[in-house]
């Protein structure tokens, strides 16, 4: 029995290895688990883009909202922009985090392409981005009414991402938030 088992050992090893490699094909190595999931947003106090006033964590709390990290130098942000306009029109509150950008360029972008954001946080140095663990734009965080980060999506938010991932979570949060 033992020698026959030994004969099949290479085959067994191959099958195990192939199973792991096959699984690896469908994994996205860029998708990192966020360290911030189910933890409150970090405290911050940064200027609102194009305004004199400051905005802080308290201004974002109150209802479930999206926090979208974007910049004018980010090509994919332009790709997702029309879709953000669309979901903002459907009534989803979106806050912008203008990440390491030039204020004038950002204002021009919003004037030209439309403004889906409730307000834009001007994070010129990327300090809030650092606290959020942002490593590239675009990134979109789903924050609940208490200011706890519930989900983070790295990359473009398009119809597929919104309908399959973000919207179900958002509905769940707003359903709980309004008591219905």
């Amino acid at each position: 029995m033992a020698p026959r088992l030994k004969l099949f050992l290479p085959l067994i090893l191959f099958v195990v290895l192939a199973a792991f490699l096959f699984r690896g094909l469908s994994l996205d190595p860029q998708a990192l688990p966020s360290a911030l999931i189910d933890r409150p947003l970090p405290e911050f106090s940064l200027p609102v883009l194009g305004q004199e006033r400051l905005i802080g964590k308290g201004d974002l709390i109150g209802e479930a909202a999206l926090l979208n990290v974007w910049a004018t130098w980010c090509v994919s942000c332009r790709v997702e922009h029309p879709y953000l306009l669309q979901i903002a029109q459907e009534g989803v509150p979106i806050y912008g985090l203008n990440y390491k950008d030039d204020d004038a360029a950002a204002a021009r972008w919003l004037a030209d392409l439309g403004d889906p954001y409730r307000a834009n946080i001007a994070d010129r140095e990327g300090s809030l981005g650092l606290d959020l663990g942002v490593y590239g734009a675009p990134e979109t965080y789903l924050v609940d009414a208490e200011g706890v980060v519930r989900y983070r999506h790295v990359g473009v938010v398009d119809e597929r991402v919104w309908q399959t991932i973000l919207q179900p979570l958002y509905r769940e949060l707003t359903g709980q938030g309004s008591g219905g």
Binding site: Q30, P33, S34, A35, L36, L130, G133, Y135, G136
Partner: protein, 158 residues
């Protein structure tokens, strides 16, 4: 005159121009801090360009992290504080030497396990070989006879 020019041109060839270093340099108040900066920046992994540490990477996020590392070192933070700070933002992923936990146990223990498996395999193989040799034992009378015949035959031939 021409020789002089030739020599001058040859000398020009000897000059090498370093590729402009892409990585910025930081001034440290203490050489010991610089040492720790080197060590930590090779141990921290760039979250964007996944197979580089932040010392080698020129991604904007790595530049930010190096700047932050420099600030924290100068502010007097110890290594654990800095690593905790990074891990709380970018997750355990950011460390090339992750902490021992349920998820990383296989990383830490796999070499030891493989070594044990190897030793076990070697011991088993050697033992089975020895027992095979012992099982062979002395030759039977028939075999002895055949051996003698064969030996005698070769002697005759030569």
């Amino acid at each position: 005159m021409r020789l002089l020019l030739q020599v001058a041109l040859l000398c020009l060839l000897l000059l090498s121009f370093n590729a402009r270093a892409v990585i910025e340099t930081y001034e440290f108040s203490d050489p010991e801090l610089e040492q720790r900066y080197r060590q930590l920046s090779t141990e921290l992994r760039c979250p964007k360009c996944q197979n580089q540490n932040i010392a080698d990477s020129n991604a904007p996020i790595s530049q930010d992290l190096r700047k932050l590392l420099h600030q924290q070192l100068e502010a007097g933070a110890d290594d654990d504080e800095i690593l905790d700070y990074m891990v709380s933002r970018y997750g355990e992923f950011v460390r090339y030497r992750p902490r021992f936990s349920g998820a990383t146990a296989i990383l830490w223990l796999a070499p030891l396990l493989l070594l044990l498996v190897g030793i076990a395999a070697a011991v088993l193989t050697l033992r089975s070989r020895r027992s095979q040799r012992q099982a062979a034992g002395p030759l039977s009378r028939d075999d002895e006879q055949r051996l003698q015949d064969l030996l005698g035959k070769t002697e005759k031939d030569s």
